[in-house]
Symmetry: none
Subunit: 354 residues, 2 copies
């Protein structure tokens, strides 16, 4: 089932995409924020920066290539890339494209389109992320303006370790009253370290900082670039932001930039789609985040869960240990729009786990 | 199974469409004929004119929107829109487009393409339908000539309350010897009222009436417009007329216009597809109707039935209470061409009935 998040959401937007083909685009970046001790439970200790690289390799090729010792893959919660890859196997995306928005290790894939923008990984926000936000935003705008595709719509996912921390810092730094609307990717959120990091980040902001100075200090590449991408694309092709609170933060950035620049945006071809795990998360509030926007936004969540699986690693999703990422929610809705059943998806994900 | 209707039918036409994507187009119109007391058992008493509106809303969005009191939906034979929607959920059409050919209430859908032609609902044929048939036919021609699509073929269904009555009147008025080849959508055909209506309609025709004067008095918007559409499209893209005797009547109109104008039509890309319920109907003869055409026509029926269902509402189809409409036969063949099983289709239709 595809369910609405915000009240102004029109089911017609998503129903009209039933049966249409999609490009799955994956925005990848690293921020040093992920290396702050104890800030995240995700990924492989000491190898956290590899997560977006490995996610994109796995979604595109079914192989994890940038890690030599496969035994070091995490034992705990499986990456949502498994869900996205399962959908791609059952009902392939028309196209997969990767956005390298500052990766320490570019994905080792050939043939697939990798968009490179000469962007460096960003620094940790507790010091100063040191992003040239204006330039990065401009790169996003130009990419959106020039982007053409033979696909009928775009599903944009992301993989950014510690991205929920930078998203929350960004929204708060921009003045949104949203302290309790963000949570981590994980159940037992290590709140103290996260909150301390965000506090330090906010303290770096100067009263006189204009919006791009603020973003450059506390944000991440994915958030800033995609805000530009949305504005550059300018509603010319349906775009689904496939993600939870991080994608909501991209919209909050767009919203604030429009506010500052006294601009407008047409959003009839824009939507956000996430998972039931995000929608039902008691530690965050995706609907409240979207309700802070000055423009209407179609938003949906897939009601998919792992209730049909007995696999303990997958039950962790239903227990709230993992919620979203790598476009999983958007991929699930894409699967449903193309006739896939919960049984099919569950079985396919299980084949990856052995 | 996909079976042939007429002997000259080539199975290769339909086999060549296996795996290709299709636009499902739904022609919708109202004729006052439906409000003649007792002429039809279809739809909701006093709300019959809403049937095409509700059918199109349901196929496109899964929701029935133009009826406030949902309790008033018919309890009896379920609309064939359920079949078409089930196919769309299991193996989506590439696109859904609606043709507003004179509706009292336009469907409340957004995003989906609704083609508007500034056509009014037509009057009852027992008086005089008062259609400007020449102008309407010309609108169909132009639509066909200008129509472009990224889909590989078109499936054209219809929803026109009392459309079997106007179809029979039209064919008879054009001089076809087809009195016993038409039946109603329903088992216990209220023949007296229907026949009286048709008789009155035929009595309105003047000896000197040329073809468009005749059509303007006794026909309906769907029949006339689609005859033009077929001729305007001119074989440039495969077109499947998804319907029973009404779609056969569209072809009879085309045939007569060509006869009068001494014209030709290439029909290698044209076909008619209907249901087993129409093909096996003892009160009508779709094959005999198609055999009256001067051009060859590929024609098929799906052997789908509700033999796997225990649901009493669905058994009514197998009992001959309902037969076709909303492109159900064409949708079933599209499903079969894309690997759907009778079990899958039956189960999906059942989910709508609770």
């Amino acid at each position: 089932m595809i369910n609405k998040i915000t009240k102004n959401t029109k089911i017609d937007f998503i129903e009209n995409l039933r049966g249409k083909n999609a490009t799955f685009m994956l925005a990848l970046s690293n921020t040093e924020t992920a290396n702050i001790e104890g800030i995240t439970q995700a990924g492989i200790p000491g190898m956290l920066h590899l997560t977006p690289t490995l996610d994109s390799e796995f979604v595109a090729t079914g192989e994890v290539r940038s890690l030599e010792d496969i035994a070091k893959t995490p034992k705990g919660v499986p990456t949502p890339a498994l869900i996205t890859r399962a959908i791609h196997l059952l009902k392939p995306f028309h196209n997969i494209e990767l956005l390298n928005l500052g990766l320490k290790n570019p994905p080792k894939v050939e043939y697939f389109k990798i968009h490179n923008f000469d962007i460096d990984p960003s620094d940790a926000i507790d010091q100063d992320a040191k992003i040239d936000a204006q330039e990065l935003f401009q790169k996003g705008i130009e990419f959106g303006q020039n982007y053409t595709t033979s696909s009928e719509y775009i599903i944009l996912g992301e993989s950014v370790p510690s991205g929920t921390t930078t998203a929350k810092a960004t929204a708060m730094a921009l003045g949104y009253d949203c302290k309790d609307y963000f949570s981590s990717s994980f159940k037992n959120v290590p709140s103290n370290i996260k909150d301390t990091t965000i506090e330090k980040a906010l303290n770096n902001i100067d009263q006189n900082d204009e919006i791009f100075s603020i973003l450059g200090k506390v944000s991440d590449n994915m958030l800033i670039f995609n805000a530009g991408f949305i504005l550059g694309l300018n509603n010319k092709i349906p775009l689904i932001l496939a993600g939870g609170t991080q994608m909501a933060a991209v919209l909050l950035v767009v919203n604030k930039i429009l506010e500052v620049m006294d601009g407008q945006i047409e959003t009839s071809n824009l939507a956000l789609i996430t998972t039931s795990w995000v929608y039902n998360d008691e530690n965050s509030d995706i609907e409240a985040l979207l309700d802070m926007l000055n423009f209407p936004i179609n938003s949906y969540y897939s009601d998919f869960d792992f209730g049909l699986s007995a696999h303990p690693a997958l039950k962790l999703y239903d227990d709230g240990e993992a919620k979203e990422g790598v476009g999983a929610g958007g991929a699930l809705v894409y699967g449903e729009l193309n006739g896939l059943s919960k049984e099919q998806i569950t079985s396919k994900v299980e084949t990856f786990l052995g």
